[in-house]
């Protein structure tokens, strides 16, 4: 399985994400935001957390219009896999690959703590390593993680089983406790919590590791 991790000015979880994929057995290539093409044969694009372009204008807005994101949108359009975490999730909503948007946290404060997540669906390459309904603990670290979308869009996400994770104790005001959503073809996942920061014992927990293990296993045969 070959993963490309995008690197923007201000990304700060790119190497953590690369390590999580490498430890799960993936081959990882870091790709700079000014590149116009992804490496040949990439199975999955990882869009990391951080503060791309200093969060100027809106979180993720400028990154979403960078040359490499045009290539990423093309990759997704061809049925490729994309995983966006934290700022990566914000970027994916800004590109339109995922519905909704991430607003300032309802409590206005930056929230940085481990949170309990409910695995809302195991029906995706990202969540197949979990049991549906299982509770896992993964950290969040964001100021703008308050997921919003039209009620009709939220209804559709729920009806199509596209909510991947929900918060057990909502830390940011997200609509319907949504922590992560899948695209229509279930191959693009955006989530605010950081599974890559809970992927080996030294992190204090390994609940995130199953995501990377399942992706590497599934996409090796893709």
């Amino acid at each position: 399985m070959h993963a490309a991790i995008l690197v923007f000015p201000g990304s700060n979880c790119d190497r953590d994400l690369a390590v999580a994929f490498e430890r799960a057995g993936a081959r990882v290539t870091m790709v700079w935001h000014k590149d116009t093409d992804l490496p040949a044969g990439v199975d999955l694009v990882g869009v990391p957390g951080g503060f791309s372009y200093g969060d100027y204008l809106r979180c993720g807005a400028i990154a979403a219009n960078s040359p490499i994101c045009r290539a990423m949108v093309g990759h997704a359009g061809r049925g490729g896999y994309v995983l966006g975490i934290c700022n990566g999730f914000q970027i994916l909503t800004e590109t339109g690959l995922l519905p909704g948007a991430l607003l300032r946290n309802a409590g206005l404060k930056y929230v940085c703590k481990p949170v309990a997540l409910r695995v809302a669906t195991a029906e995706s390459a990202f969540t197949r390593g979990y049991r549906e309904g299982e509770t896992i603990t993964v950290p969040v670290a964001h100021h703008d993680g308050n997921y919003v979308a039209d009620p009709a869009v939220l209804d559709r996400l729920e009806a199509e089983d596209r909510v991947a994770f929900t918060y057990v104790g909502n830390p940011n005001g997200s609509a319907r406790d949504i922590a992560g959503v899948l695209s229509e073809n279930r191959r693009v996942l955006g989530m605010m919590p950081h599974p890559e920061r809970m992927a080996e014992p030294a992190h204090g927990g390994t609940d995130g590791a199953a995501m990377f293990a399942a992706l590497v296993r599934d996409l090796a045969h893709a």
């Binding site: 519905p99 948007a101 300032r104 308050n146 005001g173």
Partner: protein, 79 residues
């Protein structure tokens, strides 16, 4: 030609920052503020001299970058 773009959260989208400002105003003794909505103003200095073309171009800028139309509305003013 200069353009001024106002970007606001759409009606119905909760604005936690505006709400915090409203709360602070109340605590300072400014009673009677029913609600506060916070947005942004973006000023552009354009080479374009034709009003209609400028308006159309800035509108495209808004749709593609300056506003996120999922949550924000915008107005374009030429000055």
């Amino acid at each position: 030609m200069k353009a001024r773009v106002h970007v606001m959260l759409k009606t119905g989208v909760l604005d936690p920052q505006g709400e915090a400002v409203r709360h602070a105003l109340g605590q300072m003794g400014f009673d009677g503020v029913r609600s506060v909505r916070q947005g942004k103003v973006i000023e552009l200095d354009l080479e374009e001299t034709d009003e209609e073309t400028a308006r159309e171009t800035v509108t495209r800028m808004c749709e593609r970058l300056l506003a996120n139309t999922v949550i924000e509305s915008y107005t374009v003013e030429l000055v």
